[in-house]
Amino acid sequence: MIYLDNSATTYPKPKAVTESFEKSMYKYGANAGRGFYDMAVKTTEQIYNTRKKAADFFGCDNPENVIFTYNCTMSLNMAIKGVAKNGGHFIISDLEHNSVLRTVEKLKCEGICDYSIAEISYDDKKNVSNFLKCIRKNTVAVICTGASNVFGIITPYKLIAELAHKNNILFILDAAQIGGVIPINMQKDNIDILCCAGHKGLYGPAGTGVLVINGDIDMKTIVEGGTGSSSVNKLQPDILPDRFESGTPNVQGIIALGCGMDFVNRYSADGIFKHENKLIMYLYNELKKIDGVIVYRNELYNYAPILSFNIDGLHSEETALKLSEYNIAVRAGLHCAPLAHQKMSTVDSGTVRISPSFFTQKKDIDFLIKCVRKIAK
């Protein structure tokens, strides 16, 4: 199989990740942060090691400010609902995934918060103006993706974060598509809360995600329960990470996620970006030459290594199905991001999305091009 659906989840995982996962099933099988027998302490230490790696990875000073979640959607829900206030207002970009859109929409339907959608442009002056126009007195936070999960458009999130801070507004970054591909430094980039999947560009197992809180931010919990600490207190503890980590964590997943981050650090996010982007640029240039193929790229934008296309007369799902007959795995449809498709007028057809990983080779892309040519004939 040629796997080109790495924006959904990376596959395969590095050998060190799968080995670590299997090994920790035997070696670190205890619950973390509870018992004090030898295996429990060693398991807890392993979780702490991944916490430190994640803090370093995202430029956060304090490992305790790294919260382990089960995916980026959960991180975003915790962040958005955590900072939401009655009568508050959010600003989101027009490239957001449903993990952001549905969350703010629910808050709106419940009469808790309202939200505005700001257009992402290739022109930074327009971006500033688009976001400035949306700011209200009661704006609590700006939530912006680092890159569109459909088209790969990189948002000017640093600029938007700076703008948010100048207006005393929190900035929440959805780093699902850029974590491990574009270096992120929360301190330098003015990011208050970062939400990232562990199973995408960080090469960890499914069921892992992180929520990183930069500083002392007043956040409500959306899940309460046992934390292994302050157990006599009926209320959730204030201390991080305990406040946001109720219940048994995904121990093996978190330990393996640490190995995934080691893997990314070994080759560097920049290095991985270069490799993937070279493949995507090659694909883009070749697909453009095929009659009946529509490639969704505007060279004025900056792009992450993700490419969307369609074949004239075929729904994106049909194209994906035909590609799967050639054993090529791609994602089609709306990719849970209707806003991005509205922006690009592709709601009706959806798009076929190609997303490579560190493990994708040029010959994989060559075979894809050959198959697209056949289907487009």
């Binding site: 230490e45 702490y48 490992p63 292994g228 302050s230």
Partner: protein
């Protein structure tokens, strides 16, 4: 010998690492009979200058419940 108590095991591990980097030998411990206010019951035990240690923990935003001389 001093014991520093924590309400969170993450902070206990962070403190252990910081103090090991200061050159102390540190042992992590779980209290056998923690009081209601002792949180998770985790503590670290070390021999050394408690004042230096506490200043360093504060600088690194480690949250501890208190400390005591135990021997």
């Amino acid at each position: 010998m001093y014991k520093i108590k924590f309400s969170s095991v993450t902070h206990a591990l962070k403190a252990k690492e910081i103090m090991e980097n200061m050159g102390y030998r540190v042992k992590i411990n779980k209290n056998s009979n923690p009081s209601k206010n002792e949180g998770c019951g985790y503590s670290i035990i070390f021999v050394g200058d408690i004042n230096r240690a506490i200043v360093r923990l504060d600088m690194n935003k480690v949250k501890y419940l208190g400390y005591e001389l135990i021997k």
